[in-house]
Symmetry: C2
Subunit: 335 residues, 2 copies
């Protein structure tokens, strides 16, 4: 493994000069630059990012902390982050918290040890400890997807409340009066926001008495089980709002197992679209968040924050949500 020193000797210059050529910094005459570049090639020299990081205090590494990378919503987000990072010669480390606060803490610790330059965080809970810890280790943080209380921060998210509101109004417009919502953990902001949007829509339509809110987890199983509970209610709801993609799938499967037709008997709407290629035939009416774009913008904001080219003030970027009406929502024919 040749080092700057070897290259320097070969090119007949000082190590620092080699460094300057590689980093394109400072003044270098064309002649020496060429000599150095030739030496680099001849020796197959590869600069050592580790040593560089130690000295310069910049590791050119970001981390993306999500709950589960196998959720296509986060996979797209990850790809967005990766693409922007790659363009700027940054590397990304991915971490899966599985919605566990303990895992989040463990990862935060690991990332501090690794001296990453910045972290893109989808908080596993409403807790501000992780952010404070990272900041105390000189690591910039941009929050994604979910709000966090108790601390100011840069954040990239969508307007869950409004989108939920819109979806419910859509259902109300189709004649539905008994609409249930199945959502995730009470501790997660998106979960709460979607419920709030739901409640507001009902209130505006004078249907507040019909609230049917079910908290659970953001996964298929929870959606499945809660649907069975929901359908025990009397009178039965005529529409269900699943607060993320997995919940929506759980709902559809449960209804199928209960021999309830969608949308003839019950309409279903969801949040977070599944990738188009996944469905032979798109079917579910959803509020689609621009996951890839969110990843891109968040990475962009983080990189700017790291380079210090931003004012002190924290930024909040709210992206629009697209409502896609498909077959799963239909006029109410069941009272």
């Amino acid at each position: 493994m040749p080092t700057v020193l070897d290259v320097a000797k070969r090119a007949g210059v000082a190590p620092i000069t080699v460094s300057r050529v590689i980093n394109n910094s400072g003044y270098i005459s064309l002649a020496t630059r060429e000599r150095v570049e030739a030496a680099v090639k001849e020796l197959g020299y590869v600069p050592n990012t580790i040593a560089r990081g130690l000295r310069s205090k910049r590791t050119h590494t970001l981390a993306l902390v999500v709950t589960d990378i196998t959720n296509p919503y986060f996979t797209s987000m990850a790809r967005g982050v990766e693409d922007v990072a790659g363009e700027c010669n940054y590397t990304v480390i991915y971490c899966n918290t599985d919605e566990s606060e303990a895992k989040e803490e463990k990862y935060a610790n690991m990332l501090a040890q690794r001296q990453v330059d910045g972290v893109l965080l989808v908080p596993s809970c409403g807790n501000e400890n992780t952010i404070k810890f990272l900041r105390s280790n000189d690591i910039d943080v941009v929050v994604l997807d979910r709000h966090i209380s108790g601390v100011e921060t840069d954040i990239v998210c969508t307007d869950s409340k409004n989108a939920a509101n819109y979806l419910i109004k859509l259902l109300i417009g189709l004649g539905h009066k008994r609409i249930a919502i199945i959502t995730g953990q009470k501790e997660v902001s998106t979960s709460v926001d979607r419920v709030t949007g739901y409640q507001q829509a009902l209130a505006e339509a004078g249907l507040s008495d019909n609230e049917l809110v079910f908290y659970g987890a953001f996964n298929e199983q929870s959606g499945y089980e809660l649907t069975k509970q929901v359908m025990m209610h009397s009178p039965k709801p005529t529409a269900i709002f699943g607060a993320n993609n997995f919940i929506a799938i759980g709902i559809i499967k449960a209804l199928r197992d209960l021999n309830i037709d969608v949308p003839a008997d019950v309409s279903v709407v969801g949040f977070d679209d599944l990738p188009e290629y996944m469905f032979i035939k798109p079917f579910l009416t959803v509020a689609k968040q621009p996951a890839y774009e969110m990843g891109r913008l968040a990475a962009d904001l983080l990189l700017k924050r790291i380079s210090g080219e931003l004012s002190e003030e924290y930024q909040e970027i709210v992206l629009p949500i697209e409502i896609i009406e498909r077959e799963s929502s239909a006029p109410n024919k069941n009272g």
Copy 2:
């Protein structure tokens, strides 16, 4: 940011002693250990992985190079890798080559700079350059999914040829005689292997004259377009084999747009299952590769290779493929 030195001072010991406590190496009396641990806590000391890596020549970092992380096949694989790596306190960097040799090369260079301890590589092409380059930089490599020529290496894969063979025999058993295969790039081993399995099955059944092989790319668009070509053939095939999940989806969509019913008019079989949760109703007959398990085993093998606890000989691990028969393959009723 406190360092070992600060901790050492506080605990009244030498820096090296702090290092020993943190790494659980060498002899330490209980008293000093406790003193050091207390100092670590009081100062909020976090060891610096960068400095550690520079000195010890081990970064505790792996890289997973795949073609596209948004393909659920690779996402599962990634999760398998991540889980094993995490257990051993290794961190994983993900890289997407998008099947481009240039990108693969760029990433290899980056990974060498970062001094990763090992790389899990899904080769974007049959080229051995990347492996040779990484090895010349003291980086261990385990190849995943696809064979590579021109160089011996550890590899974890499945028996594509046999699985393809089996799928085609299944179709032949259902009475199909004109079976087309739509596959990926000619340069990719899995692409070729699946064609070989296809050809052998036809040969064994005395149907060699009916070969219908279409090379393209491993994505939906290619599957879609080639399907339209395939169906121009006369006489039309009665079954199509899509050599990966995206191609299969492209096929299904194309047939739908052509008003051709699956499986009444044409049977379809695929490779690489989509995650169960994606489908309300599983439908496609597939050869399912154990992606998560492949990731786990490959990471395991790589870590062993890194720790030097393996003999010199390269290992080839071939995992079984599961054939899942579903509705998209049915008896031939179209001659």
